[in-house]
Symmetry: D2
């Protein structure tokens, strides 16, 4: 039984994390905090009435250190890099759900997040928490950088292909669609019900901060430089990401061969479901689960592969993956609390 | 051809008003303003691109006076009562969509709107703009107080009954359901897509500021004091109000008799549709129209009448009714620009 | 460990039941069937991929008898009364989610369900499965009739009042709003996305088949004849019921006194949350849970009580309550698999 | 004033067509019909109460011939090709909204629509009704084939580029997203509210029947063979199509140059709005209008252009464009009834 704390429990990811940890049999949640909202957690999230009596406090690092073995940061970027070093110094393991430790190069971070990185030492040490690719490193991590929601769907959708056929890829286009919770929980006219409902649009076209994260890890997987073109869109739903990924190939590959490759690559993975062809992922099949569903299709000339990858952005794209990482870091069963 | 201006064009009611007036053949929109947002109106409302080149200015009363014959106030309460007197002094006709001139008693206003009324002189003079009941007075009005959205549906649903069977009414309960646009266009966490979507709740139970307005005009119609119990709810849709009204009767009345009464009462009204029984109103049938649809049902013992009344809160409940009133005040055809 | 079966696993209630039972630690699902859809359950419900390999069969009563200790009927009315007697004969306990065994009078059944009851013997024996009221009887039941969704919210919202202040009630109006899943899973133009979305309407006004069920059990609770006026409405959401209940009182009662009564009445109930005043239930707080949230408000003259009662129609209104009943009937912890 | 008729008025496109024609000042709707639904049109579409008393009849070609100058076919494919020849013989102009006359090659038709074309004579004569490209031919058309919804957005989004830079295009990927009304109005479990709501998925991946239509007309525009990769998705909204189009270029072109080209190409077009950069189309800006909004963005290396094209599938993608075509064919002002 370990003691865990969460900063950012008033946000959507923080909430899901809290809910998952409350039901986790090897964990006790000993401390929850938020920077802008304090009070009984059941006043902030009334649906939790009867399930917990915890109080959401203004964050106090001393309390976090005293009360927790593992600490989750479900905060906006730039906040995490101020807190993580203090926790690490006291041997508290840190799982950061923000973007602060995902990129390994401070100048790339600055370019995309418009802020100077102030914890370069730990930036290098942080382990990227995509268990299907980095399970062994994660087991030993003390600072875990939880992947972004868009990168999780993209990397899981592309990993087998880039790992095994990297040389045959000539271009990758990712057309991504996300529910509103990806934008966070805040008073913002752009997120007003009447602005989002019955609407749909692209945003940050070719210019989203998750691009360097996707490119960095795809390049690692394939051991060659890989670039992607990425266009996100806003869906009028609460949660879920579906990415339609177009991969142009230099040579023909048969769809069956690729399908076999995917099946084998993820053979022992409990959270990846490679669908039989011609089935396609749907958001309702992955929402409120830690699954990533993957569909495959091919143009007749066998030179354009279409991969569809679907996750719940709040679960496999954030809180669920964080718990999966915590399980690995703590020696628990990897699926504990997630199936 | 008259010249009209609007203050509050960046809100939902102000927008619909602007759209209706742009297409109105007897009107030219000469001035639009908002207090918190200025700029090209097509930057504020990009869907208007190609239909107008107007600029939305910070409000300047001198411009309003110079440029307009009729001026619409689509503003929060307390703002209207500061501006209306200035316009009236210069013989500009005013149509106020806010709650400032609907109640006739300043202390009742203070109780429900939590503000001191500062224009008591005009409060008495203002004409309540429900054309189906007050058409002749409206034609002569210089200060027109446009009814609230909930009161419009309630009064139209109850007017025939209270006018003709007032003595037989023992109680009235109004269970009202409104789309989100009724709460206005503003950055507010309670109106965030993810808070409203797939949700439903009551609010201001028995305690909404539209109660005294409904009671005041029902009492006038029936020439006796009438009270109502009113519970509003928030629907996860953009626009529309449906009210289910339960009237307990002291004596039996047959449903057919009541249906005949309603048909006769609204016989010449273009915007009221009394449905054949057992048909029921649906929001999709009135949305984006100036119609009020009314359905009737009766308990077997003929002592409980259920009236359902549906409108588009932004049209018959706000902007459409304002245009209908303008038509009457200006000697235009009453339905001009609305059918 | 008991063996359970479900008929009707291709419907929404059947699905939720199956999901709850799959995760229930004292239960093994040994048989699932549906009348119109057969095949791998993961083809019918692809989101279950990886969690079960069961096959959904065309119903065969011999298999049900051989394979199950407890059998759930998640079927339309008239189907259950044909199957239940066969199962009971073989000492299989039956939990019927349909309306077949809720009313105790065959002629009342015929009037509201437009069908002749063919199992009158068991109709009398069936135990009505509202655990908060009939826990002890449920423990001994062999044929359990699971309450309707609307009645569950109504009865839980009204039970304390009718039990303790029955003599002071002069009328009860229930204005109910339900999500679409209440209408079942079937190809029906009235349930087409484009017909329901951004819409709202009343239906079966004062004429819904759940009325006699509500009246029957309210009358039992209060030991006097109670009638209700009931108007259901269709919400553009998937799941959830909120009922706004207006109770006219013959004498004044203070809101605090009623609130205390409710708190005491449900003091030991794990699934009933009587909210502090002036808090109001919201569907998002009960959806995907077995909770019933209850809010209370009172008119100033203390003679009109407004009770708001919210449940998830698929959980506390169907599958969750069925599991709660199974727990009681089987000697398990009542909340097992539900918290 | 011309007399027009519609077959298929009970569908979504047929309805919008009927509404547009009812308000069109140069047109009288003299005959409406549907194959599966007949009766007062206000029983089929209650929101039209008060606006028309027409009766929707079972289709009778003699009546159509007697009563109409122009006839609209808003019917499923294969139905149109049976009716159009009869009407044409009698000199009734035909505007077909189905897919029957869009492709010019009967064997291509058979491959994609799985039916043998039975009116090859007229197939060749039919004019493709995309006014921005084929205005002069449309003016003289007697059989007008209204473009598909997806092809309208695709062709308008790609026309300037393919017309002027066709030689520089190396590949085109179209990632399309459509509201539910695109699938038609029918009882179908896949279109049930609860299946579509809060969901999103791709379908007919690389295999939609609109592909040959897009390729045929892009090839004509660019005077070279053009292929596209096309993946449609289903959005949980009623109406609207947004296509994100990725064009790989063989040579660099500056975004400004392309933007200028688009502005010039559509300079006099009333229904095409080329947005200023970096603005992006949103469905809510085009819904219920005949506009097509186009946004442009470019990868830094100037070799990947991203075009976003948005329309209302029921207006510019069907009924609105049909009216625009009728205006041209009848010598009316092209925008009549559409702005």
């Amino acid at each position: 039984m370990i003691k865990v704390g969460i900063l950012g429990v008033s946000g959507y990811s923080g909430l899901i994390l809290f809910e998952l940890l409350l039901k986790h049999k090897d964990v006790r949640v000993t401390y929850i905090a938020a920077n802008n909202t304090t009070g009984k957690i059941t006043d902030i999230w009334p649906h939790l009435l009867g399930q917990t009596n915890l109080f959401c406090e203004r964050f106090d690092i001393k309390k976090a250190i005293t009360l927790c073995d593992v600490f989750f940061l479900a905060v906006p970027h730039t906040t995490a890099m101020k807190i993580a070093p203090e926790l690490l110094k006291e041997n508290i393991k840190v799982i950061d759900i923000s973007g602060d430790y995902r990129l390994k190069n401070a100048s790339v971070y600055k370019k995309w997040y418009h802020a100077t990185h102030t914890d370069i030492k730990n930036l290098k040490k942080a382990v990227y928490g995509l268990p299907e690719l980095y399970r062994e490193k994660i087991k030993k991590a003390v600072l875990l950088s939880n992947p972004g929601c868009y990168p999780t769907a993209a990397l899981l959708g592309l990993a087998p292909l880039t790992a095994l056929y990297g040389k045959k890829i000539s271009s990758i286009i990712i057309d991504a669609k996300s529910g509103v919770s990806g934008a966070g929980r805040k008073a913002d006219l752009a997120l007003h019900f009447s602005e989002v409902n019955e609407n749909f649009k692209a945003y940050k076209v070719l210019n989203h901060q998750h691009v360097p994260e996707i490119e960095l890890y795809l390049s690692k997987i394939s051991q060659q430089k890989i670039s992607v073109d990425f266009v996100p869109h806003l869906l009028p739903i609460h949660r879920g990401i579906l990415e339609t990924i177009y991969v142009a190939l230099t040579d023909k590959i048969s769809l069956n061969q690729i399908h076999q490759t995917y099946k084998r690559f993820y053979k022992t993975e409990k959270f990846i479901r490679v669908l039989d062809m011609p089935k396609q992922p749907e958001l309702k099949n992955v929402c409120k689960t830690n699954y990533c569903d993957i569909g495959l299709a091919m143009r007749k000339d066998q030179k354009l592969l279409v991969i569809t990858s679907a996750i719940d952005n709040l679960v496999k794209g954030a809180a669920g993956q964080a718990v999966q990482n915590m399980n690995l870091m703590s020696g628990f069963k990897e699926t504990e609390g997630l199936l």
